[in-house]
Symmetry: C2
């Protein structure tokens, strides 16, 4: 690589998005890139010419290890979506001017399906003006809703957090000899991958949650209350896991059944959902009269790096490695995908595909991986997720808490 590299991070952070950054950075340096620049706050910051030389911050192997263990986007993120090329050429002109000035030959963007659209647009524009800059997408999202790839980096660690925390809460919930229903709200606006992962808490030492509701299916409040009442005949402690994005038949989000929820919109135009567990807990309390608790995993599920899955960290690192190698070999307008090549033991390899096949699409949990009643996931679902949460990194704790890479000041 005889030209400089730029890398950015975009969208919601994960606990391993920096492992992908580490993969891009170390591989680009290995392949001889003179400078590896990092966009501050993604394409939005880059348009304001905010960037750093990553070598100023990642100086040795310990820094690389710390970077891999540091949650949230080290370079900062954004939720800015590039306009379509035909709508606003000015922004592309400006962007390519900056790229030119920095002598960039390779452009990497770590993000979800909105971010892949950024790569798609940039590739279209580059072809149009005859630029030879290589543009590559590096997948990331705790939601696991990207198509083509077997799964996405970030999902495995979030799933490990969900499974572990649900398991601990199941123990906690049955501590007193009383009827208690706990409703746990898990991220995933449209896709139920993360919520379904609550089932991985199940094992010889844990019964798992009692009910799991994914956003892929219509949520029926009466049926739900009836199921809870039925389970309560058998045991006093009931645990329900729900996606933040479940909706009733009329298309209304459950969290919209209250005043204070569902009123903000992020800059990608997505509604921010919260309060689903609270609404359900209140309905249970009203109709069944038992003690209820509502728990939101909130941002913790995407930033709990202390519960990273080793498999996930390694794969996150390697999608970064693969992106750089592919770009160095002349590929552009592609996104790295993970292919599952074996089940027992699990093995994966990295491939790539045209970014247009990924950008703006979304992958649901297949109907066949949800039980007939629509209130749990199947063994197939669990078998698919299990390998992704396996393994733990060697801890780096200092003064009793995990050490992270120093902030960019």
């Amino acid at each position: 690589m005889n030209k400089n590299v730029i890398v950015g991070q975009s969208g919601g952070p994960t606990s391993v998005i920096n492992a992908s950054l580490a993969g891009v950075f170390t591989t680009a340096k290995e392949l001889g890139a003179p400078h590896v620049y990092g966009m501050r706050n993604g394409i939005e910051g880059f348009l304001q010419e905010r960037y750093v030389d990553i070598s100023d911050y990642i100086r040795n192997d310990v820094d690389v290890e710390l970077l891999k263990r540091t949650p949230s986007a080290f370079l900062g993120s954004c939720r800015y979506k590039l306009p379509k090329v035909d709508k606003d050429e000015a922004v592309y002109k400006k962007l390519f001017e900056i790229l030119e000035k920095l002598e960039i030959g390779y452009f990497f963007y770590i993000g979800g399906n909105d971010s892949m659209d950024t790569i798609a647009q940039l590739t279209i524009y580059a072809e149009r003006i005859g630029s030879d800059i290589k543009f590559m997408g590096v997948p990331k999202t705790i939601d696991n809703d990207l198509v083509v790839t077997d799964h996405t980096p970030g999902f495995g660690s979030a799933a490990k957090y969900v499974a572990t925390s649900v398991k601990e809460l199941i123990r906690d919930n049955k501590v007193n000899d009383m009827d208690v229903v706990t409703v746990i709200e898990i991220m995933g606006r449209d896709a139920g991958w993360l919520t379904g992962s609550a089932a991985l808490s199940k094992g010889p030492d844990c019964d798992g949650p009692d009910l799991i509701y994914l956003p892929e299916l219509v949520f029926d409040m009466d049926k739900f209350i009836a199921r809870v009442a039925e389970i309560q005949k058998e045991r006093r402690s009931v645990i329900v896991c729900v996606s933040e994005g479940i909706r009733t038949a009329d298309g209304k989000y459950v969290c919209e059944y209250t005043d204070t929820a569902g009123r903000t919109t992020d800059s990608f135009g997505h509604k921010q959902l919260t309060g689903t567990a609270r609404v359900l807990a209140e309905v249970i309390n009203e109709r069944l009269g038992c003690k209820v608790r509502a728990i939101e995993f909130s941002s913790l599920q995407r930033c709990a790096a202390h519960l990273q899955s080793e498999t996930d960290v390694n794969e996150a690192f390697h999608v970064g490695v693969a992106a750089v190698r592919a770009a160095a070999a002349g590929e552009s307008g592609k996104v790295i995908i993970i292919e599952r090549v074996d089940e027992e033991p699990y093995q994966s390899t990295m491939g790539s595909c045209d970014v247009h096949l990924v950008a703006n699409y979304k992958k649901d949990v297949p109907r066949g991986w949800i039980n007939e009643e629509g209130d749990y996931v199947t063994k197939q679902f669990i078998d698919y997720v299990r390998p992704l949460i396996l393994g733990e990194l060697t801890d780096i704790y200092v003064d009793g808490i995990p050490r992270h890479i120093d902030n960019i000041r």
Copy 2:
């Protein structure tokens, strides 16, 4: 020990309350106790003659290790408070009949200050009827609000969870280049020990939270909003940690400024508080107009055994050991206390004191350990807590998640 042992767990669980159970069980067996029984759901279940022989469940050293790593009370807990001896003798008669029948010589109760009152009452009654059963209290509470003892088992692990999670959330919060105020609600109805521990997230790689409010001081809403606005002039990401129990000058809980909070009471007569962070986030949003997030650590902070402090686990185990040894040596009506004997390096030893000196009292964070403005803790506070969160146990993960001891079926 030539008579049988009974042990119970009471009050809110912690992630190391089972380490104390392990300490009691293994030491009683070592000292020759024929049977070590466990009350199901504390004294409440025991009055219904619900108990187990712990040897049926803890059969080898691996079981002991798993028990130490299992959150929530293995035997089940209760919130039942024994009536004063003079108020209702019948319950005591019944209790001692059961103790007699099981040939109990030693009685251990693992709990907080409400549970220590149970030990106090039983000791009074035993003296009155001339029983030679030994009664010992084993301290536990994430709240760290017991007097006499330097600190309580359970606190260190909860503090490690709080410090780690706050550190991860601080990273998460600054990921986008926008004004965001996150309010994190932490347990501690009357004592701010756990909330103050958020400050332990501070280090070379983390600035720590911006503001910390403890329930020991009156909360002033206007002053609070002014402080947040002041901090926002310097940086876009603001993190506020608050105790669930903060109150305004008129004695009203902050969470009572909303409709849905503060309406339930547990059976010890304590109000259950929740919604403090939500109220504050809404006020910030209204008055300052920026993006806000409210995060409740909820039960996770008391059951996140995957983040146990090794120091805490070891001390929790040893208060159990010490209780059994003291009872075997003839002590009764006592509670085990932890004494800090050295600072650098930290060392502690176990002692005991009359249970009446502990039961029903509570230990606040000293005013001198909170800064003058009342919105942060001092270095003394941090130096006091730091050793308690140090060290990590060797993980026992199976299939990607922590393995616990099997449930009592």
